[in-house]
Symmetry: C2
Subunit: 274 residues, 2 copies
């Protein structure tokens, strides 16, 4: 199905929105959704839930369902759990984006909580990734990891009506100067107040700045490189009969053969990629 639909995709703009818990991402997603709908454009929202095996999940999904958008036929909302997705969360998210794209949704927002590798990988599905920060993170801005700084195409300073936003922006600018992006992109820093819609128009303008740049096409290619590799990896892994794997595993567990020799053997009878 996805294969047949694929030629009809490539028109949707996918925006990843990530940030620490409490940054107001869901509210911001709702504000952006309202702005997009006000222009009459259809929009998909994918909420990636950081389900904890101890406390349950659906943190984001529930909040989104509380808003008015769920009753609007021009908005598609889907909540995805981070656990138990075949081929990983990024793969599953990518498939949903393709479906929405083929169905004519023009904008797809992917909301994630930046808590782990899974969530960072999801950024590789988006055309552009916005990182949401809020005043009061204190010195935590300095703790922003290179992993996040490489995926942040724009920074959104939410709750910009609160004290501390000047310091936050100053700290962030220092950090960006100290550790500039390897691709030369200088991420715009945009202030907003998601609760009353202030700055949301500027967020969409900031997105446009990136998508109008040369980086946009390069990003799509880089994302597909990542995705092709993981698709191939899953397919190849599935191609080894389970019985063979279990037999080898028992031999390894008994120390009659080492795992490296086993894998070398599988590679030999497998892909000849020279």
């Amino acid at each position: 199905l996805l294969k047949e639909l694929f030629p009809h995709t490539g028109r949707a703009l996918t925006i990843g929105i990530t940030g620490p818990p409490g940054a107001g991402k869901s509210t911001l997603v709702n504000a952006i959704a309202s702005a997009v709908r006000a222009k009459g454009r259809r929009l998909g929202i994918i909420a990636v839930d950081p389900t904890s095996p101890f406390t349950g999940g659906a943190i984001l999904g529930d909040r989104i369902r509380m808003t008015g958008h769920h009753a609007d036929a021009g908005v598609f909302i889907r909540s995805m759990a981070t656990r138990g997705q075949l081929g990983g969360l990024a793969a599953a998210t990518s498939d949903v984006v393709l479906l929405l794209d083929a169905a004519g949704f023009e904008i797809v927002l992917i909301e994630t909580v930046g808590v782990g590798q899974d969530e960072t990988d999801v950024a590789r599905v988006a055309d552009i990734t916005a990182v949401v920060l809020v005043p009061g993170m204190g010195d935590d801005v300095q703790a922003l990891k290179a992993g996040i700084m490489e995926i942040a195409d724009i920074y959104l300073l939410n709750k910009a009506d609160q004290p501390g936003v000047d310091k936050l922006e100053r700290d962030l600018r220092v950090l960006l100067k100290l550790a500039p992006r390897q691709d030369g992109w200088e991420p715009p820093i945009i202030r907003c107040v998601a609760t009353d819609g202030t700055g949301v128009a500027e967020v969409l303008t900031g997105v446009g700045t990136f998508t109008g740049s040369d980086l946009h096409a390069a990003r799509a290619t880089a994302n597909w490189s990542f995705r092709l590799r993981s698709m191939f990896r899953e397919r190849v892994a599935q191609s080894i009969p389970s019985a063979d794997v279990e037999l080898a595993a028992a031999e390894v567990a008994a120390r009659r053969i080492d795992p490296f020799t086993v894998v070398d053997g599988w590679l030999e009878r497998a892909p000849n990629q020279t």
Copy 2:
């Protein structure tokens, strides 16, 4: 190196210790370490840090370094970040366990915070996994996910001197009756107070109950099945030239070919795996 060392491994007992934040896992690990050292046995501790890209990490590692064990030559302590490990965290952890095993460490404790798929995967490195719970989780016990219940070989009710421990145990027993393990194992439930060492001897006895059962060998084989598959997956993925991947990705991004056809082609030029 690991290949040469492999025949010298298989003697260490690896114990995974996981649970929600605040369950006192680090304190418990320290108490177990003291008990093991009191018997004169050498022990390795691997702390898997759930580094957040927003707030930094090393939550567990720092706490462990605060204890007295770091100065003891019979204790090896290693902190591992969850991000940016080639082939995943489970792979990297597995390699460290092999090294410690070959070096003659008899017990290896792997401490993780159960927050994501990565951490659950780490359980597949351990011979036995202990899940730590504490009173006051309230109804959260009912939210324990199947993923955790399948990996929990023993339950440790820490802070058992606090009110609510009876209710916690009762709730847990109901849950275990409602959703028994597929392999028939009935996980022991052990009360302890890590801060004063109460019950720590019983924890080691509980570990022995499992390792003395038939499940122990089956677990080792299952773990190696998982590990062999992921080693193979990584090796195969690395075997495709990057230039090929990028070329194909650009074609896919331009919608001149679909990704499924690309991956089919890569699989075809791979000799058969029948």
